[in-house]
Amino acid sequence: MEPLTDKGKRQKAEGRNECPRVLVDRRGALKLAALGGVSWLTPAAELLARRSADQPGGEPAQSIIFLWLAGGPSQLETFDPHPGKTIAGGTQAIATSVAGIQLAKGYERLAERMQHVALVRSVVSKEGDHERGTYAVKTGYRPNATVVHPSLGAICCHQLPVAGTEIPRHVSILETQWPSVGGLLGKQYDAFKCPDPAEKVPDITSQVADERIRRRLADLNVVEAAFARGRETAAAATMHRETVANARSMMTSKQIEAFDVQREPKAALASYGDTPFGRGCLAARRLIEVGVRCVEVNLGGWDSHVNNHELHAKLAPTLDAALSALIDDLRQRELFNKTVILCGGEFGRTPKINPLDGRDHWPHGFTMLLAGGGLRGGIALGATDPEGGRQVHDPYDVPDVHATVLSAFGIDPAHDELAPIGRPIKLSEGKPIAALLG
């Protein structure tokens, strides 16, 4: 840790544009390192890299697809059924391809692929409010007034090299109230938000003909030159012109076609389910193929304070189809081991059914699903109390899930990133779940 006074001086000397400049330096350094064959890997990554030398196909993960179930799905009606118990409220369970692991009825396709999937059924959080819970699960930290922590996807983007990707490397598909953010890493790590892939990516297409946009950009150079005269350094430090150029290269990049799922065969579209979420998952696969690091695909509507069973029954086919098709698709394309799938919401729901046939917020034991990325499949860790108590067998904190994902990427979770307040903050304070890591 450098003393704060030095940092203060450095900030003063470099002006307020320290962040973007450091970013460029970092990216540049990473590119150089990659080109020169110099290892940019963190210690954990080296470990994993070594592991990969021993185990064929054990390379670190490259991308993450985060299926975000906004509102907080019921563990009992999804991945952690307790059939026959009072708390089940009649919800039935089905067998899966892995002996001893059951899923709730409605997840038949996923059940057939259980050997590729890991369930952590004993995730515990301290946040029972939607906004705070979302923050906790997306960032691995509890909200506080000091600093906004980066979401998991932002950390992956920040820690790993750019590698020729011209479109945003952190994407959030379908509207959600609190999309993933870069937090202390900067706005440039916020997820790029886009709607149902059946629609066009917003703001990516010029409103005018190509010839006109080129003339406009030429005109812009005239205005920029007038502004920069006598303050070239300061104007350059804003990186405004560079950002315009980057936006323009994104507009003209072939990679942008990755958003367009209509380019897929009809059968592929159908297998993901003809839903916005299904199309989102399909787009996610296309995006990681062109080097996008993190795609968040949002499926809301799980906040079942009323008519819990009915709501969950309606959502199950959407999730079941999309998640199962995604697993198949990634496996066929040999992307499965390079891609972590993470699926869950901000908390679970109460074992007790309320008078409106609903279930309320329950952060005291819920399920996160992980698959791919070299993580072990066909496993269910931990257990919630069949009688609905708060005691959880073999509990894991939310940050442990983060640490596990980061480890799959070869990123050391304990690596310190310097927060703007001058205090070091670990990428994750959790412990990687050993049972899932090879």
Partner: protein
């Protein structure tokens, strides 16, 4: 709805005549209700001028010491634009620019500022800025937290120029129901109903320390501060002042009995914490409720941290960058710059008068300095030492405020037609959502993002504002009404960048328009000019 639209269209068309007048280069002499006589300037001028002179002297000394030649004074229009952006979150309208330029140069910036400080837009805008420090941007608990009510109340206080120490005392100590006593939302925002917990003492302590004292004591919530003298006990002691504050049904926020307890992280045992302040304990009164005592200590004239924090925040509002970075961690720099204490002393001496503070800063040479120099290249050393006005990224509200205003030649304010204002509000909120709200961390040094650029380059909202629209859009009005290409270009520059084109720029765009015989092509080129100005560094960065 079509009827409303028709009425609106007629209204707008009627307005066109007036617009033609403000487009025309002829200077008007009538119709200047906005700029009031400078009574308030005179009221405080003599000794405010003294403080301004001292402030200027402080910076001159610093620049000389650093061997820096400061940038020259900025033009009045540039300064007027800075003031509008900082205090109303928008840019001057063409209408306002014409009025401003009709004024005699001496004292017109003071009158401009007076008009702003009398404009409700200013109080609404500043209340949102302050609210981010006071209560953040989170939604907060349902029903018992009313952010909009809080904002309206705060805006009223700013309009009345309520002394800042009084305002803060009310925030810390107010009791009652959040709707009837809006200041209590400062407390209720920290309640976690789903955890069946009352006001969160630790969160309140963190807010008090950061927002009112410019101290990031919250690092000490979990451990002793790594480089500052703050101990975990300091933080807990501050939190304990809220240990008796409860939310009690229909009574709202009340003070009761009880002790503040924390869990020892090592032993997991509960420990009672007695209220104590982290510094200057002699300023803590003996009497009163815990919150009364805390409020009295925070706002005591002898508590330097309080006045410094206020000055640093308002400096940041005006410049886009705090005098001491980060905005809420002043002690981390060691000895604060002399300007901070000079202004803090003036602020205390004049009864925590926020408007005076704004006036003093705005009148100073350092605020009116240019961000560019003809004789020398501006370096980061100049910016760091305030020897040139720093370029800072405008907040989303300022960008959209500027975009919407630039598309209308007349001023959009509380006098505007209700449909104009509703339309503005809708576009405003939608744009900010897409552009990305900055949340609590408004003054963190960050650049722009690619999605922001895409939104400005290709977004429908921008196209709607620059495209052909006889009813609403400035580009169309200018194309229709400007007497010559030169005037059309000049007017576009004034409407978007609050300046006239340089000779090179004028030559370039006049040539661009010259060969266009048909109206449609000419209109399109003017639309392109608007696009270009709105997408420039100059538009998105305060300068």
């Amino acid at each position: 709805m079509w009827l409303k639209n028709l009425v609106f269209s007629l209204l707008c068309l009627a307005g066109l005549t007036a617009l033609a007048a403000s487009l025309a280069p002829v200077h008007k002499t009538s119709q200047q209700p906005e700029l009031r006589p400078a009574d308030s300037v005179e009221r405080t001028s003599s000794d405010a001028a003294q403080t301004v002179a001292e402030l200027d002297a402080v910076f001159k000394t610093e620049w000389a010491k650093a061997g820096l030649t400061p940038a020259p004074a900025a033009s009045d229009l540039t300064v007027a634009r800075r003031l509008s952006l900082a205090l109303t979150g928008t840019i001057p309208s063409l209408e306002e620019i014409r009025q401003f330029e009709d004024e005699p140069p001496g004292g017109r910036l003071e009158r401009w500022l007076d008009a702003i400080l009398n404009d409700r837009r200013c109080h609404d805008y500043l209340s949102e800025r302050l609210a981010r420090a006071f209560v953040g941007v989170q939604d907060g608990p349902f029903i018992i937290y009313r952010r909009r009510r809080f904002l309206a109340w705060l805006s009223d206080q700013l309009q009345a120029n309520r002394p800042y120490d009084e305002l803060v005392r009310e925030l810390i100590t107010d009791s009652g129901i959040w709707t009837d006593r809006p200041a209590t939302n400062f407390i209720t925002v920290t309640i976690k109903p789903e955890q069946e917990k009352g006001p969160d003492e630790a969160e309140l302590a963190a807010r008090v320390a950061r927002a009112f004292l410019g101290v990031r004591l919250d690092c000490a919530e979990c451990h002793d501060h790594p480089f500052q003298p703050w101990k975990q006990r300091d933080f807990q002691g501050l939190a304990a002042f809220f240990g008796q504050t409860r939310q009690q049904g229909l009574k709202g926020i009340v003070d009761g009995e009880g002790e503040y307890e924390v869990e020892n992280r090592n032993t997991l045992a509960k420990e009672t914490v007695v209220p104590c302040v982290p510094f200057q304990a002699d300023l803590l009164p003996a009497e009163g409720t815990r919150r009364d005592k805390l409020a009295a200590w925070v706002t005591a004239p002898g508590n330097r941290a309080f006045s410094r924090a206020a000055v640093n925040r308002f400096w940041a509002e005006l410049f886009g960058r705090p005098l001491v970075e980060p905005i809420d961690d002043i002690p981390s720099v060691g000895d604060p710059p002399p300007a901070l204490d000079l202004l803090a002393d003036d602020f205390v001496k004049h009864g925590y008068d926020l408007q005076r503070l704004i006036r003093v800063i705005a009148a100073s040479g350092v605020f009116r300095i240019d961000s560019v120099a003809a004789e020398q290249e501006i370096t980061s050393e100049h910016e760091a030492a305030w020897a040139a006005f720093p370029l800072t990224r405008l907040r989303p509200e300022q960008v959209v405020g500027g975009l919407l205003q630039s598309a209308s030649l007349s001023t959009i304010d509380y006098e505007s037609h209700i449909l104009v204002r509703i339309g503005r509000l809708g576009s405003h909120n939608d744009f900010i959502k897409r552009y990305g709200d900055l949340g609590d961390e408004e003054f963190s040094p960050e650049g722009g993002t690619i999605p922001q650029r895409l939104l400005m380059m290709n977004g429908k909202q921008l196209q709607d504002r620059i495209g052909q629209n006889v009813v609403a859009n400035a580009s169309t009005h200018i194309a229709m009404l400007a007497p010559s290409d030169e005037k059309a270009i000049e007017t576009a520059y004034l409407a978007v960048l609050t300046r006239r084109p340089t000779p090179e720029e004028a030559r370039h765009f006049v040539a661009e328009l010259a060969d266009l015989s048909d109206t449609r092509s000419r209109n399109q080129r003017l639309e392109d000019l608007f696009w270009c100005l709105l997408n420039s560094t100059e538009f998105s960065w305060n300068h």
